[in-house]
Amino acid sequence: MATILVFGLLLTLPWLLDLIDQQYLLSLATRVLIYGLAASSLNLILGYGGMVSLGHAAFTGIGGYTVAILAFHSYEKTPILGWLPWLQGTENGLVAWPLAMALAALFGLITGAISLRTKGMHFIMITLAFAQMVYFFFTSLDTYGGSDGLALYGRNQLPVLDLGSDRNFYFLCLGILLTFLYLTYRLVHARFGRVLIGSRENEQRLQVLGYATFGYRLFSYCLAGAAAGLAGALLVNQGEFVSPGLIHWTRSGEIMVMVLLGGMGTLTGPVLGAAALLLLEEYLAMYTEHWMVILGPFLILVVLFARGGLHGLLFGQKEGS
């Protein structure tokens, strides 16, 4: 019942906002969906796989910059990197978005292969370090705005859907998020997910049983990276702007906060967390410019007293996974 209600609300939201004359909230809702995607992708490795990555914003940054750089060269009519004449820029989403996902996944493959050799605190720190490398890399690219970032002239183009319309863009993000959640659901309930969750609980035991857990973990790390890369591509399309701020480590922290706030290891928890954090920011900012002084202690209270996050508060114990 509740599920149908939520679906109904999400599907009719643009018209509901029209009805109460609050159309500007649509862009906030879209951002919730996109951050929901980013948080869900982190949840795949953090919640189910037990990999505490503090560098997830690197993936969104790579995805976002891929889209922005392709668009930049498309306006300028210059070859990418200045020395590959056959590599032209593009504003076509069907080219840019898969490329954004592929590059993010490739980054995940390279860094994951190194990071996954470490455990615990070391894993947290090494993922953070790789994200910092990406941050400084894009900060140093003067052609693409350096630390000031790069503005786009418009959103990417898709064959049928006009993304210039905020309403269309909202539905696209909703569709992508739901698709990803469905895929996650299928994945964690398949043998793949069992191995992933099992290696979170006791990796050695699974290895003894004959599973190459490293491969499973690395694959899910790349998969999460690709999804976060797509989230980055969408985010840059939504705001028509990209900057290294998208990759700053506090951004990785925020995505992690969304997962924990919503309830990690649950399917819808991260989306709830993204909604809660973004709405809270928006709401508190209306009252005081110093809203972080309230948000900070709020997060601490959640940790101390609401284990299992919002999902745990709303639906009781964790989903059996």
Partner: protein, 303 residues
């Protein structure tokens, strides 16, 4: 000559990083707590020192006010929040201390405003000395290096030679046993945490005259501090010392010499860009290399 000067600069950065990482690695090694908010105490130290120095005109008074302020803030945080998280997941600790960062950054903005404060080098440490013929080096930076060496010595003596140090080391190995022997382990933990934040505050005071004192200043050094303790081996004070000096030297040398190096085989503007990009990434690349060879850091602590 330039190389020698940059080496000293690297050492000076290394010493600052050591002050930060010693406290952080102590807390992690003994209490198993990941404290992302460690940079906040560095910021508190810098702000209190800058304010007191500005009003009293004395750097020493600023220093004397800042150290207890940082230690006290640390102990209050330990008593109110972190104490409840010792047996929790690292993840809970990350989230709670992330909240603390938000809180402290915004609090300093409320109290001191958004404009950065600037601190002068105290007159008795101003100027420079000629270390080698033709090499002048600022006295203040030498003083920082000296303070760092003294602190390292102090920590060594504290741990290796005193009863308190023995209890701390024993507490890290077996908390229950030490408590059963009649040591007040809760008080001990609070004191260690206070010592760690005091050292962070000291680093903040010393950074004041070199950098701008502003909200969020703790985060940039915090990340480098984490790099240091991960390279050194989490929980090892000796590792923190070696890691800090390595990171300080690698970072400083890469920034000053990489662009020149690239000029040997690239045109100058491309070399500057490549050099600057690689220089700011150098410590992270360095860390990845070390962890690839030694996943537990240079001086792993056995547990």
């Amino acid at each position: 000559m330039l190389f020698f000067e940059q080496l000293l600069n690297g050492l000076q950065l290394g010493v600052m990083l050591f002050l930060m990482s010693a406290g952080l690695t102590l807390v992690f090694g003994i209490m198993q707590v990941v404290n992302l908010a460690h940079g906040s105490f560095y910021m508190i130290g810098a702000y209190v020192a800058a304010t007191v120095t500005m009003h009293s005109g004395s750097f020493m008074l600023g220093l004397l006010a800042a150290l207890p302020a940082a230690a006290l803030a640390g102990m209050v945080v330990e008593l109110l929040i972190l104490r409840r998280l010792y047996h929790r997941d690292h993840l809970d600790q990350v989230l709670a201390t992330f909240g603390l960062i938000f809180f402290f950054n915004e609090l300093t903005r409320i109290i001191w405003g958004r404009q950065p404060l600037f601190m002068d080098v105290p007159p008795w440490l101003a100027g420079s000395v000629e270390l080698l013929p033709g090499v002048n080096y600022p006295v203040y930076r030498l003083a920082i290096i000296a303070v760092g060496i003294l602190v390292a010595l102090f920590l060594y003596l504290l741990f290796a030679r005193t009863r308190l140090g023995m209890q701390i080391r024993a507490g890290a190995t077996n908390r229950e046993m030490v408590a059963a022997l009649g040591v007040n382990i809760r008080l001990l933990y609070t004191l260690i945490f206070g010592l760690g934040t005091l050292l962070a505050g000291l680093a903040g005071v010393m950074a004041g005259p070199i950098l701008a004192v502003e909200a969020g200043m703790g985060e940039s050094i915090l990340i480098l501090t984490f790099v240091v303790i991960v390279i050194g081996g989490i929980g090892s004070v000796r590792g923190a010392l070696v890691g800090a000096v390595l990171v300080g030297v690698v970072d400083t040398l890469a920034r000053s010499f990489l662009p020149d190096l690239f000029r040997l085989f690239l045109d100058s503007s491309a070399a500057d860009r490549m050099g600057a990009a690689l220089a700011s990434m150098s410590v992270y690349i360095f860390m990845a290399l070390i962890l690839t060879c030694k996943p537990a850091g240079l001086f792993p602590v056995n547990d």
